[in-house]
């Protein structure tokens, strides 16, 4: 009995410094943010005044807020689906080979480890209308007749940005699915093939059901990171053209540091947070059902 007690105390004694720092650096700021969202806060005079949902009402009336809401939704759906398709295709490829699997996986993980700013710069340079290599390749192949300004029109900029972000993030989905594919039973796979099922049939009947949990995890992770994005859009387009790429992260940034409306920025960050929580809850529900 006594021994258990000392263990209890000791365990927390060891953890105490970390827990204190986390309380100061994570928990307190998060709660502080909550407070700011529900008050009228003047950073200059440091006067707090409870204002209820006034900040949220202000957001609801702002067309820019709804614009970023829509842009974010598009951004998340575009990124997640593209990353899932590419990540799954590559994971299946990697899983079906033995030779060179390590080197291929290593290379394909490079984007994930790349710094966001560097990725942004890489793609600005590739997309550049005059000096960019993308136009150069497409022109040489005869696929386009004149250079395209990839980041200059709203829709094209949205797509170009999603492509760049997918380049950066597909490895996360890939590696998650690759781990899931290890659970596919070889006996079952062989049995289906002996039965004469074609590739698609095998995939649907054996592989897909097994990796469904990994797919949910992959979708969850890529959804969260898509919602949390900030760097690529601010580096590549600054939210433009015509706010077409102003996802939530950027909108909150502008509210806080261009308009200095801390209350609205905090409120918008809570809206973002809530969306992520909903996604996580959905995920937990799906996982529980299985």
């Amino acid at each position: 009995m006594f021994k258990r007690r000392t263990r209890f105390i000791k365990g927390y004694l060891f953890a105490a410094p970390l827990l204190v720092v986390l309380a100061v650096a994570v928990l307190f700021p998060a709660l502080y943010n909550l407070g700011i969202a529900f008050s009228n806060f003047d950073p200059m005079s440091n006067v707090w005044q409870f204002s209820g949902v006034q900040n949220f009402a202000k957001l609801g009336n702002s067309p820019f807020f709804w614009n970023s809401f829509k842009v974010t939704l598009l951004w998340v759906v575009g990124n997640v689906s593209l990353q899932l398709v590419i990540g799954l295709a590559i994971a299946l490829g990697l899983n079906s080979i033995i030779r060179f699997r390590g080197p291929f996986t290593g290379i394909l993980l490079i984007p994930w480890i790349s710094s966001f700013v560097v990725v942004g710069i890489l793609f600005i340079w590739i997309y550049d209308p005059q000096m960019g290599v993308l136009n150069d390749i497409l022109l040489r192949l005869g696929l386009i007749e004149r250079p395209v300004a990839w980041l200059a029109s709203p829709q094209l900029a949205q797509i170009s940005l999603i492509v760049a972000n997918t380049w950066k993030f597909f490895p996360l989905v890939m590696i998650t699915l690759l781990a899931g594919l290890q659970d596919v039973s070889p006996e079952l796979l062989e049995a289906t093939q002996v039965d004469g099922a074609n590739w698609l049939g095998t995939f649907r009947m054996v592989i897909l059901p097994t990796i469904l949990p990994s797919i949910s995890t992959g979708v969850l992770l890529s959804t969260i990171w898509a919602y949390n994005s900030f760097t690529l859009p601010i580096v590549m387009t600054g939210g433009g053209p015509l706010r077409a790429t102003e996802i939530f992260g950027l909108h909150i940034f502008k509210l806080a540091f261009d308009a200095f409306d801390f209350g609205a920025a905090a409120a918008a960050s809570l809206v973002l947070f809530t969306q992520i929580l909903i996604v996580i809850l959905l995920y937990l529900k799906v996982v529980e059902r299985d």
Binding site: P43, A89, I276
Partner: protein
């Protein structure tokens, strides 16, 4: 003519397709870096040729010289190094004993605390934009290295703790018990058994913290304004904002900035491939 292939031939053909596909995917992954490297060795005149000249006729190191002679870049590089090293050291010093306490000493509720700590990793950084700004300005920490360290710890601590805890959990408990039977105290057990056995995992966690801090960009952009604390990624952003963007210099700087994380990556990728690094880099 109907194409009838034996089963073996068909299998080989499929395999061939898979390899072609993977080579193509790898090419798409490597190409942007290759292109950046090719650009960084070009003299500026060759940027504007039409059609583009992929390989330089006059290879030059001028872009690199330009970057390395820029005192601003060197200062920012030093700031990056300083912040990343401090963040790594602090993260490890805090997370190792905590992970030990929560997993090995079986503190009740330790598991849920760990999960709670990990889940904070998924918080959008945007909820910290305003509070960090206010806190840092109150304590006069805006535009200082210490201020950045404070902000970065919110990112590195959760992931470091989780990684170290995972490593600790994989050490057979018998070894530890044996050490205790031999009369080792807590501290001695930690140093002689646990730390030695989990050194690779701890190194990986440290490297991870370093890489995260080295690449961090959001907080550095928000809370630094001068080279007193500006890190290299932020400087790159300012290079971009200039009226006449000097792409050659930008590419050279981006290469120099990427190099320090290529080597840790070679070491870390084994860890990633085990799928344990799921959901890590934050941006």
């Amino acid at each position: 003519m109907s194409l009838k292939l034996s089963k073996r031939a068909r299998r080989r053909l499929t395999k061939g397709f898979v390899y072609v596909f993977l080579v193509a995917a790898s090419a798409v992954v490597i190409f942007p870096y290759l292109w950046m490297a090719l650009t960084s060795f070009k003299p500026i005149e060759e940027f504007f040729t039409y059609p583009l000249q992929w390989f330089s006729r006059n290879w030059t190191l001028a872009q690199y010289a330009g970057v390395l002679e820029d005192p601003k870049f060197l200062t920012c590089l030093w700031n990056s190094l300083l912040v990343s090293s401090i963040v790594t050291a602090v993260s490890l010093v805090l997370s190792i004993p905590a992970a030990y306490g929560l997993t090995r000493l079986r503190a009740p509720g330790g598991k849920s605390i760990l999960v709670g700590i990990l889940s904070s990793q998924f918080f959008p950084p945007m909820i910290f934009f305003v509070p960090f700004y206010i806190i840092l300005s109150k304590f006069k920490l805006l535009n200082t290295i210490s201020g950045l360290v404070f902000a970065y710890l919110s990112v590195t601590l959760p992931i470091c703790t989780w990684m170290v805890a995972t490593t600790f959990r994989n050490i057979p408990r018998e070894l530890e018990e044996a050490a205790r039977v031999d009369g080792c105290g807590d501290i001695k057990t930690i140093f002689e058994v646990v730390l030695r056995m989990s050194l690779p995992g701890i190194l990986t966690a440290g490297l991870f913290a370093f890489v995260l801090a080295w690449q961090e960009y959001i907080f550095a952009l928000l809370y630094t304004t001068t080279t007193a604390a500006q890190t290299a990624p932020v400087l790159l952003f300012y290079y971009l904002g200039q009226h006449q963007i000097d792409y050659g210099r930008l590419m050279a700087a981006a290469i120099l900035l990427s190099l320090p994380i290529i080597f840790p990556f070679a070491f870390m990728q084994r860890y990633f491939r085990q799928g344990r690094g799921e959901g890590s880099i934050k941006g």
